[in-house]
């Protein structure tokens, strides 16, 4: 072993030197520790990404391995950007993204605010609220199709019970106007706890001395809320929005199991659309270009957002 050899050398050298030679040097140890992770990430994340970019300029199809692969330049990109159907999936994604974030921020922050009142047993109830986000979205999403069944589904029954509507008169995942909301409801149910936990961390990071000072200055509770609570929690809230935004832009498992993109293609989010192009139509080159466009979009939007976030933090 390398270490024992070095140890033997170290043992033979005078004491003053020993300290520097014993064991691996910090520098080589650092590389030994970091390298495996970097190599794995390069092999499984970066190499495929570069490959995707390369494929995106070709007309390659996985299901036709013998066909000649031609470089066709930007043709894939141009046909994607001029495709009306793809703009429709982008719209569906935007609708999903905006509403889930709005609902999750409102509900998540309110819950965190209430939990921060430190009533008895709050940590147990917090855990119960957190449960949905720890579970497999595909398995849970699949079960929600059962809850959404007209007539026999629990969701329809509950809505019928509360509003007096006939539970069999509407179908959350079969109706073109309701399906986009069906996926928003399940995503909100599942991921509100995440926003809540981050807000809670933000609320708990505010030292109580600030409120005490405000109280001395006779600031009203309402004023304290808007001038202390909100600005200090805002960076946390924005972080939560960033994570939910990235995750929901990539959204695949939950929605595939819930609606499969239907009815028609009304809930066909970009990831589902991409999967269809890549693994059902097998247009590998075209799908690669699509993937690159999506990645650049997420990365670009996230970078702009992080800049804004840093500005908020500095204030």
């Amino acid at each position: 072993m390398l270490k024992s050899t070095v140890d033997r050398v170290a043992g033979a050298t005078p004491h003053a030197l020993a300290k520097r030679v014993r064991g691996l040097s910090d520098r080589s140890l650092a590389w030994l520790f970091v390298a495996p992770s970097i190599v794995l990430l390069l092999a499984v994340n970066i190499f495929p990404l570069i490959w995707t970019v390369r494929l995106s300029f070709t007309n390659f199809r996985v299901n036709r391995p013998n066909a000649e692969v031609q470089f066709i330049g930007l043709k894939n990109y141009l046909s994607i950007l001029s495709d009306k159907d793809i703009w429709l999936t982008m719209q569906a994604t935007a609708h999903f993204l905006i509403w889930t974030i709005v609902l999750q921020v409102l509900i998540g922050f309110s819950l965190a605010y209430l939990i921060n009142k430190k009533f008895r047993g709050n940590d147990l109830w917090t855990t119960i609220i957190v449960l949905p986000m720890m579970l497999s979205p595909a398995v849970v999403g699949n079960f929600w199709t059962f809850l959404y069944q007209p007539q026999i589904g629990l969701f329809n029954y509950a809505v019928g019970f509360l509003t007096g509507a006939d539970p069999s008169s509407f179908s959350m995942i079969g109706d073109v106007s309701l399906a986009p909301w069906a996926i928003i409801i399940v995503d909100t149910w599942m991921w509100t706890p995440f926003v809540m936990l981050i807000c809670l961390a933000g609320l708990r990071s505010i030292p109580s001395s600030i409120y005490e000072a405000a109280e001395c200055d006779r600031a009203s509770k309402w004023r304290q809320f808007w001038t202390i609570t909100i600005p200090l929690v805002l960076p946390f809230l924005m972080l939560a929005v960033l994570f939910r935004g990235i995750e929901n832009f990539k959204m695949f498992d939950l929605v595939v199991q819930l609606t499969g993109g239907g009815p028609g293609s009304i809930t066909e989010l970009t990831s589902i659309n991409l999967k269809r192009e890549a693994f059902e139509k097998w247009r590998t080159g075209y799908a690669s270009a699509y993937a690159v466009i999506l990645f650049v979009t997420v990365f670009g939007l996230a970078s702009i957002y992080v800049k804004a976030l840093n500005k908020v933090k500095q204030r």
Partner: protein, 312 residues
Amino acid sequence: MSYSVTEPSQRQKWFAGILVVGYALITILPLVWIIATSFKSPADAIAYPPKTFFTPTVEGYVNVFTTRTRLTEEQLKAVGEPQTWYERLVRKDGLVISGPSRFAERFTNSVIIGFGSTVLCIVLGTAAAYAFSRFKVPLKDDLLFFILSTRMMPPIAVAIPIFLMFRSLGLNDTHAGMILLYTAVNLSLSVWLLKGFIDEIPVEYEEAALIDGYTRFQAFYKVVLPQAATGIASTAIFCLIFAWNEYAFAVLLTSGNAQTAPPFIPTIIGVSGQDWPAVAAGATLFLVPVMVFTILLRKHLLRGITFGAVRK
């Protein structure tokens, strides 16, 4: 009792408590419903109005582990009397068990891939996190950002070349391939979380050990690792849960051999149409371990979620 201006009043606490408990009860209703449905008979499961009280049966659990066929009266007579309790249970509906289903196999795959990737992820992650936390690694910030940015990729976007790469390496639909893949997916989270935990351990402990004649590696192994044990454990549970729940890669890259439970459970169908109690039974077996884990380890897990996110 000391009076504090920032302490909420009793009335506020009651008000907040009632609202939060109300939300919590609504939010776990679907989960309770999954567990309840798994103990219903198929007829009770699709009754209208939905049944809250019913006679529990384990039919769903029998169905999720077996495949069954419907036989005619004469064929049933030829087969003879059912021998075991589960055969008797399906015989009521005129069915016989024709063999085990693939559920047990899929579940085992989930366990193997989940634990395998978690162990690998923790070993690599702890080493990298220690190096980033203690040493002057060249380009440290860039490397850390690089590690983080690998999380922004939509799984489907890299699935195409990973599919091609795995095919040429013979890793498609194998445990080893999925373990490597999940390790790579989780590594960013594990490095960031563990770096946070290791940052909190005072450097003085190691320095004392180094002065006592430990090598750097010994100091890491004998001083830092035991100190970071709680952090490592909660990071491990995160990696395990992510690997356990993952669906997109599993559905695209595995089929016959190494398929995990999440792509399998939705495909469970009965002899006549979707068998909801069986789906619910499969889901219950798959989800309940995670729920129990979450409740038992809530302190560490909740800290982990916020900690990981806020650090980034």
